[in-house]
Amino acid sequence: MSGEGALERLRTSVVGLVVSFQEHDADRPWGKRSPQTRYAQAAVVEGPFLLTTAQMVFGATLIEAEWEGRPPRATARVVHVDPEMNLALLTVDEPGWLDRLAPLAIAEAVRLPTDGPILAVRWNHQQFEAAEFHVKRVAVHESWFGRQRHAFLVGRTDLPHGGWAEPAVSGDALVGLASTQDEHATWVIPAEILAAYVARARRPEGYVPFPSVRFSWTWMTDRGLAAWLGLAEPRGVMIRHVPWDTTGHGALRARDVLLAIDGRPIDSRGYVQHPRYGSVEFTQVVVEGHRAGDVVPAEVWRQGQRCAVEVCLRHGPTHADLVPVRRGDHPPPYAIVGGLVFLELDGDYLRSWGNEWWHRAPIALLTALHRLETRQSPERRRIVVLTQVLPSSWSLGYQDCRDLIVDRIDGKAIGGIGDVADAFAAARGDEVRILFAANDQRSDLVVDRLEIAATTEGILRDYGIPAAVRLPSG
């Protein structure tokens, strides 16, 4: 495809999306923030469906599609979303609206260098913009949504303020969707992931998610470490911890050195040789061409010996994490008891501390994000935080308490918001004692049990809160 004719054909293969959305308020989880609008792009794919990134449709209250970037708009709806892969399929129910669109074929795979230029395209105020996207490298990175890692095409384009799911096209084929863009680079989800996603989302039998690597690992570049373990030279990566119910659980162990996976040797920085991309992080091998439930062979160095193991690849939904990086469309669970506001800790709450939240958020919460991830268990699925106290005479003396991780309530261990409500309901005696995880403020607080119900009712009324409890969804 070249020249004006090519761009003319692309005009019917790309649609603009106008998404009204409203995020949950991380600090006051019973409410939502002010409604906003974002403008995004979608590629038309076989179906036809509209393929865009999941981050464009999170929190959507209304999605409208614009043909050629101009009114009238048609209401679109989400057919499927994979938050971890940051992809979503949409459709438009208005009769005939999709008929004038020309689906793009999704390239089987991106081969670098491409045969021709890659164009990043979009609708912008009824103008169809196109600019070359120069791929600088391929890099494995976490997806926008969470801890899923996969390959991205990383490069630069002259389309300013991108990263709103602009399609990247080469010839007649879709080679990627832009996920994020800053002054340094644009990160594009490559075609092989798009193709696999669309195919799986359209399966009549249902969607089979992509697997993910959730075990923590570290480089084996340390010559001394390699020698100490008995390896002739540094290679592979050392497994630090395998969270339960994730890829490798039961097969891989802490202090194993993962030497190869699915037949691909891993070097001391965790790279494998990829047929198209050269050296990429080994996690790409798990994602590309595999589905959750697949079993792949692996080779580990364990206690001085080489061992062959079989690794079951598992999906790692972010919302199942001890501290989910994002909740997406899952509303934040909370409980309000007499003005005490309890939340399940997540990345959205930490991001309420602003751009440098990884510096500004309380150290106890940041530590929970990084250090305690090894301690998730069936009994402790989440970290519950007393985030604030809506003051009343009942909570006198505690009105300044903030951001304390809850350990126990009336002796009951707390592993989720449901436990909070249960613990208060089961409490006996005239007072309830809440114990916190170790912190530099206080160990506990004690409240009157008999006045909880009346106080909670008054708090809900005075603060305009619709419900005292929201349990986890999904």
Binding site: H359, R360, L366, G397, D430
Partner: protein, 471 residues
């Protein structure tokens, strides 16, 4: 010539403060100035922060153009006070020291005297007593004692100068709130006298600490829960610091009801009559004031409620055991050990300050957890001194450990590290081929001991490290 002026001196300190990020570097020599004044015994009283880390002290007396060398006679970093003695005997004999006065009441007029920046002559400002309460002392960082706030201007250089009321010294100017208007502070004579009494014993022992974290009992349900009857007051012990005065004497959930017979309110305050001029006037202050009135080694009498039953507990007072770790360090060299190019230091406030003054936010999260939270999470670790791999002096023996820096060392060769000296002993006496270092989150680093021993001297020479350790 006014009597006050004659007693006030200008002090010039040529100080050398070490670089904790390059712990073998003694740092540049820099002069700074402050004030002081003559007291009984031929000594000059000033602030500790004026004379800390000194290489040479010079005292300039009122109307005397000649500098007089001086030495530190006694220093209390915990209360930011110090005594100087002139090297030349008898140089102060002709100067009559001012008498001390008691705590001035609110709104009492006071004058400051000193040599602040903006000129070289003696300066005086006037104001009133604005507030009296227990507040943090900036010099040591972790200490709180009684302070008096005044709107008399206290500027850099005023530190150590007398605050006078009716011809009597009522305090020592020492700090100001730069982000506020007309807010300066002076150390009242109650604190000064404690320091002088302690210094007179020969070796300054410092202010004692009870060593507990206590919570207010403002909530009625909490008061009931801990066994207080209606009308009873106190604060509840929340945490007892290992090795502190209260260790083994007080327990979590104990309610402190009185100290030396003086009742504590639910917010931990006590009602005192501290004014000589007005014996009936009551001032409510934090109960720490009562502990500050004791010296290290003395007994403190506590009325406690434990499990609902009243109890009298006597506590032998000692300084807070966390002083070295949680306070600024002065007049000492940083402790360190360099091994195979890896630089190990103790985890303390000075180490964290290498991240800048905003270290509470910018510091490495593992270190902040170790410093701020782990003592509460694992109090049984007690007196263990956390050790940090601070940085790496690049060399082929360690070049593969490029990202290892600012990490607490959990174990060496499988055994927990209990302090810097422990680390040094283990590394220097080991006969194992490999030295295995373990860090948080299951991270490892391994050095080949023979390679390290062969390279150690070359690394020290290459990086200008005069000696591999300072313990």
């Amino acid at each position: 010539m006014p009597a006050v002026d004659r007693t006030v001196a200008r002090i010039v300190n040529h100080a050398q403060r070490p670089n904790w990020y390059v712990p073998w570097d003694a740092g540049p020599v820099q002069p700074w100035t402050g004030s002081g004044f003559v007291i009984d015994g031929g000594l000059i009283l000033t602030n500790a922060h004026v004379v800390s880390d000194s290489r040479m002290l010079l005292v300039f007396l009122y109307g005397d153009p000649d500098p007089h060398p001086a030495v530190v006679h006694a220093i209390g970093h915990d209360c930011d006070l110090a005594l100087l003695r002139l090297v030349e005997p008898g140089a102060l004999d002709a100067i009559a020291p001012l008498p001390f006065g008691g705590l001035p009441p609110l709104r009492a007029p006071v004058e400051t005297f000193g040599y602040p920046v903006g000129g070289r002559q003696i300066s005086s400002t006037r104001g009133v007593v604005s507030r009296i309460e227990v507040q943090p002392y900036a010099h040591p960082q972790h200490e709180q004692h009684l302070v008096v706030q005044t709107d008399a201007a206290i500027n850099p250089g005023n530190s150590g100068g007398p605050v006078v009321r009716d011809g009597r010294v009522v305090g020592v100017a020492f700090q100001a709130a730069s982000h506020l208007q007309s807010v300066g502070y002076f150390i009242p004579t109650e604190v000064v006298q404690h320091f002088l009494d302690d210094a007179a014993r020969g070796a300054y022992a410092g202010f004692p600490s009870l060593g507990v974290r206590a919570q207010r009992l403002e909530n009625p349900a909490a008061r009931r829960h801990f066994g207080l009857c209606p009308g009873d007051t106190g604060v509840v012990v929340d945490f007892v610091f290992p090795g502190s005065s209260a260790d083994g004497r007080l327990l979590p959930d104990d309610v402190l009801r009185a100290i030396d017979g003086v009742a504590l309110a639910n917010d931990g305050s006590v009602a005192l009559r501290p004014f000589e001029d007005d014996p009936d006037a009551i001032l409510r202050l934090d109960h720490l004031v009562l502990i500050d009135r004791h010296h290290v080694g003395e007994d403190l009498r506590l009325d406690v409620l434990r499990g609902g039953r009243p109890l009298e507990v006597t506590v032998a007072l000692r300084p807070w055991p966390g002083i070295g770790r949680y306070g600024t360090q002065h007049d000492v060299r940083p402790r360190y050990f360099v091994y195979g190019g890896l630089v190990f230091v103790p985890l303390d406030l000075e180490m964290l300050r290498t991240f800048g003054e905003d270290w509470r936010h910018k510091g490495d999260k593992h270190l902040l957890y170790e410093y701020l939270l782990r003592p509460y999470a694992e109090p049984e670790r007690g007196s263990r001194e956390p050790v940090v791999l601070l940085r790496r002096l690049d060399h082929p023996v360690n070049s593969s450990l490029s990202w290892f820096q600012n990490l607490p060392v959990e174990r060496v060769d499988g055994d927990p590290v209990t302090g810097l000296e422990d680390l040094v002993a283990r590394l220097t006496t080991s006969t194992e081929r490999f030295q295995v270092f373990e860090f948080p989150d299951d991270r490892f680093a391994v050095l080949d001991r023979l390679e390290v021993e062969a390279a150690n001297d070359a690394i020290l020479t290459q990086y200008g490290v005069p000696v591999d350790r300072c313990l």
